[in-house]
Symmetry: C2
Subunit: 188 residues, 2 copies
């Protein structure tokens, strides 16, 4: 078992993959395996690993607003305000292609300018999910997309002048990373 | 089944808990359940929910440096540079108590001043983990702690003057939120 190919090379250093693994649960989104790793000093450690295909998160800026989505997140029993995002669940799809698709599906927009803003692991102790972040600018209506197709998702255009108030409201890690990067980019 | 008590009230709005759930996997850190929820329009949705006790992440600032930890993360097969953090795995322990304990255990420090910096869900679509963030200042050596007890963790003091270079290296979501908040606080 190996990690998804879209994950970039390590920054601090690579560790070997598992010497052996056993499947522990096969789920709707997540598979769980128990994997055994050999440390450099010879000791063996066991880790519970949640396998995830990876994802993208998009920071869409239009007319001095950032486009957010308000949606039901049953797992945490609340509505959340998040940046548009989605899973890399189409085989072979590149992160940028996924970002284009999700931007159209979730907020009904196409972007004339895409800037890669790095990426990060959601929870590197337990989850293989790596999220690629993109800034999307020069927005226009996406062709052939019914932005209201998913009635559960409400698009919220938040004024950039009030970005700190948005950051204070958001309680989703990937969205906070994207919004705080946007804040930092505007400071420079 | 309900969410952990330490999670604050919803910002955007509450959703009802599951009408019924079935356990799907009982793991080392994560339990998985399949839960059924009733939407306001009457439709039923099914969600795979990963249960996690929650966690803390700490931004420790000492002598114009932020204290990071470099550690092996076998699940993603690499060393990572992260802020000190830890799970709320002691029953009844409050987030701030957990933060005090983790700051001592991971970097061997006690803090004279703690500032709550909000919190966030790691992955609200699938995981109940909520992470409380704290700024820790006025640091001193923690009593009775052997900071070298865990040989797998290396403490890295990173100069605040070079914070953007650190942010460019880090690939862990919770650490990026903490470091980008620190950057924003220093801008004001």
């Amino acid at each position: 078992m190996s990690l998804p190919a879209h994950i970039p090379d390590p920054v601090e250093g690579a560790l070997p993959g598992p010497e052996r693994s056993q499947a522990a649960h096969s789920g709707l989104i997540i598979d769980v395996r128990l994997s055994h790793y050999r440390r450099p000093d010879g000791t063996e450690v066991r880790r519970e690993v949640l396998e995830h295909p990876g994802a993208v998160v998009i920071v869409p800026v239009e007319d001095d607003h950032v486009l957010m989505v308000r949606q039901p997140r049953e797992a945490v029993e609340r509505l959340t305000l998040e940046l548009p995002a989605g899973k890399l669940d189409v085989p072979g799809e590149k992160p940028l292609e996924c970002a284009r698709r999700e931007l159209a599906e979730e907020v009904g927009r196409a972007a004339g300018r895409w800037t890669p803003w790095g990426g990060f692991f959601t929870a590197p102790a337990i989850l293989t999910e790596y999220i690629h972040c993109f800034l999307a600018e020069d927005l226009s209506a996406a062709d052939g997309v019914d932005a209201d197709a998913d009635e559960d998702i409400e698009v919220v255009a938040w004024p950039l002048g009030d970005l700190d108030a948005l950051i204070a409201r958001v309680e989703d890690a990937k969205s906070l990373v994207g919004l705080l990067r946007l804040r930092a980019a505007r400071d420079r």
